[in-house]
């Protein structure tokens, strides 16, 4: 027969064991549930909820006719329902295996971040410097070693776009705080 201390020890051990098993279960479920698909579906669900809540600010009917909130509420409620369905379905889906076509997530992220910075620089720096710098930097990463080609393309493309948009189409692009064209 176990004494009190040992008994307490076993109980503590049982609790710790249970906690350990629970933690492992949560970790497994977390890794199973938190995938790109569920995160994206969850993000869409949040956006749908926000849209629907905002849609309820507008009148559903005005003078007996559909008001500004009529169509958005229908769309919003449909979106919330569909997103919930997809989120639950994706959460219940087995995690995709690592075997499959090679993906270049780091390159994609880098390219997207570079693109975002370019879009911001497009307004601040001005179109032409931003295009030149973006192409030069991106090509030097993607097209390594071909410095002549990279400089040539980085110079030719802004000139071509200047002729196309500024000169032919008369659609000026942002000059930014660096005014190259008086």
């Amino acid at each position: 027969m176990r004494d009190r201390v040992t008994d307490r020890g076993y109980r503590i051990g049982d609790c710790l064991g249970f906690a350990g098993r629970a933690t492992k279960w949560c970790d497994r479920m977390g890794r199973r549930v938190v995938t790109a698909r569920t995160v994206f579906a969850g993000g869409l669900l949040l956006a749908a909820c926000w849209f629907t809540v905002d849609a309820f600010r507008y009148d559903f009917m005005v003078a007996g006719r559909p008001g500004p909130g009529f169509f958005p509420r229908l769309v919003g409620l449909g979106l919330v329902g569909a997103c919930l369905y997809v989120l639950v379905a994706e959460a219940g889906r087995p995690r995709p295996s690592d075997a499959g076509p090679v993906s270049h997530s780091a390159a994609t992220l880098g390219f997207a971040l570079g693109g975002g910075l370019f879009v911001m620089a497009f307004a601040w720096l001005g179109a032409w410097p931003a295009i030149f710098l973006y192409l030069l930097i991106t090509l030097s990463v993607l097209n390594r070693g071909r410095h002549g080609w990279n400089i040539g393309i980085s110079t030719a493309v802004p000139i071509l776009f200047f002729l196309l948009f500024d000169v032919w189409l008369n659609a000026p692009l942002p000059e930014g705080f660096i005014r190259l064209v008086p």
């Binding site: 006719r65 559909p66 500004p68 997809v86 889906r93 270049h104 390159a107 693109g115 493309v157 776009f161």
Partner: protein
């Protein structure tokens, strides 16, 4: 006879030096865009649309329409030579096109695809010429309930039939409707979700969204796939031996051309079906009626001819709902519709009577463009081969720059550029995770029409939704929608039953 005189007037407008030049530019650019995997007709039209602001409406639409149907020609070049279809509508062409190239018969394959595209396109345009006025006449009897249901038919078909998963396609379409709700409510003038921004009062423009989804999104998707690391293998691009198909190949393809063209045109008319379904259907039919079905997939010329004739005929067929109803059947025709509206045109039952010059010039330009394309296709293959050897790692940043500049030039607004980039990131994830960017764009363009016609229908019926089943035409369209939804359920269930039990699909 009236059709012929209208068509003659259309030719008179198109056969001017300026319009012929724009047509040549449009079809050439379209072939180049189609040849690059990752950039499809939607991105091409959306990105180049701002360039047409300085032109008159007829010149602009002649050029943009040229891009639209020329991409089908160009997309097949890479499909045959390097087994990389430039658009989903030419995937079926790879089944036999690439094996033919591997057998050293790339030359005959390219010539046959040019011929098939020309025949399919011409049959489609002739049928368009004859049927567009008929459809317009029928559509004049349509009221708001019928238009609302046709919008739903187009959007649901695209979302439910084409996409990987029905619910994700539905989410994509509802997202498009949600984006379309931003701006001023037409009925009351109240601002919706504008955050006090005067730029958003006009709503979220479809051009930046289309450029983002199909331009930036596709580039990101291609980088994720690793296209920037690949080199185009030169041996895949060599056209060896005789360039001309044999007499036997011409003979065995003659009925295939007719079948593929008719199937393509009929499926092209259905909003949402489009060239992709048409090409697969034509391939399946051809294989089913063939005396030697085992040859298919191993370099059978009819296996290339059928989908090529179908996808080009479908691009003409898709013009019927666009011109006569104002309902686009695909993302690319949705962008074309947006362009029409921007120039103050009203695609719909009255287009052929209110703006006959425009409509018949467009149809006439398709005849001329088709002839130019078959000559370009056969004569300029080496040029396109050189073009597609440009590494994607150089093209990718240039495309992003072009997208940014194009989005900005629409309204001179950095907000549009930001929307374009955000749509690009959204489009990347949508494509990666099985959603439908095409359904989003179509819903965005059709959202205002859907909302207005729904409201008008409920006003007419004093709030009763039964109006959609009590009017005869509405009831027929409703029944067709239900049929399509049920059909998609049956087809998916059949696929799941046929698939091994180890690969269940969670989302339906």
């Amino acid at each position: 006879m009236e059709v012929l005189s209208n068509l003659a007037a259309g030719f008179a407008l198109v056969l001017t030096p300026a319009n012929l030049w724009y047509l040549l530019v449009g079809v050439t650019v379209g072939m180049v865009i189609g040849a690059f995997p990752g950039l499809g007709p939607t991105a091409g039209i959306a990105i180049l649309l701002p360039l047409t602001f300085a032109m008159d409406a007829i010149s602009a639409i002649v050029m943009l329409a040229g891009i639209y149907y020329a991409t089908m020609y160009g997309a097949t070049i890479t499909a045959i030579l390097i087994n990389t279809p430039g658009a989903s509508s030419v995937v079926a062409s790879t089944f036999d096109g690439y094996p033919l190239a591997q057998q050293g018969r790339a030359g005959p394959a390219l010539v046959m695809q040019a011929a098939a595209s020309f025949v399919g396109g011409t049959v489609g345009i002739v049928l368009l010429t004859v049927l567009a006025p008929v459809f317009s006449q029928v559509a004049r009897s349509f009221g708001p309930p019928e238009f609302f249901l046709i919008v739903m038919l187009g959007v649901l078909t695209l979302a439910v039939m084409i996409g990987e998963h029905r619910m994700k396609g539905l989410i994509s379409a509802l997202l498009g409707f949600a984006l379309a709700a931003v701006g001023l409510d037409i009925g009351t003038g109240q601002q919706r979700m504008t955050f006090g921004s005067p730029e958003l009062m006009g709503g979220i423009g479809f051009i930046p969204v289309a450029i983002g989804l199909f331009g930036v999104g596709e580039v990101l998707h291609a980088v994720q796939r690793g296209d920037h690391t690949r080199r185009v293998r030169p041996e895949g691009l060599l056209v060896r031996g005789t360039f001309w198909p044999s007499t036997r190949e011409w003979a065995e393809s003659r009925f295939t051309l007719a079948r593929g063209s008719v199937i393509g045109f009929l499926l092209g008319i259905v909003p949402g079906a489009g060239a992709t379904i048409a090409s697969f259907m034509a391939y399946a039919v051809e294989k089913a009626v063939s005396r030697n079905p085992d040859r298919f997939g191993k370099g059978a010329m009819p296996g290339l001819v059928a989908p090529e004739a179908a996808n080009n005929a479908a691009s003409s067929g898709a013009m019927i709902p666009l011109l006569s109803l104002g309902i686009p059947g695909s993302a690319s025709t949705a962008v074309l519709l947006g362009a029409f509206i921007m120039w103050g045109l009203r695609p719909g039952p009255l287009l052929l009577t209110e703006s006959p010059d425009f409509a018949w010039a467009l149809i006439a330009s398709m005849y001329v463009g088709n002839v130019i394309l078959v000559l370009l296709c056969v004569g300029a293959i080496p040029v396109f081969v050189a073009v597609i050897r440009v590494p994607f790692r150089i093209l990718a940043p240039v495309i992003l720059v072009l997208c940014t500049v194009g989005a900005y030039s629409v309204n001179g607004s950095m907000l549009d550029t930001g929307i374009m980039f955000a749509a690009g990131v959204l489009g990347f994830y949508m494509k990666q995770l099985g959603y439908s960017p095409a359904a989003l764009v179509v819903a965005l363009v059709l959202g205002p029409l859907a909302e207005n016609t729904l409201q008008q229908s409920l006003i007419i019926s004093d709030g009763s939704p039964l109006i959609f089943v009590t009017r005869p035409v509405s009831a027929a369209i409703t029944a067709f929608i239900v049929l399509i939804l049920l059909g998609s359920v049956v087809v998916r269930r059949a696929r799941v039953v046929r698939r091994p039990a180890t690969a269940p699909d969670a989302v339906r």
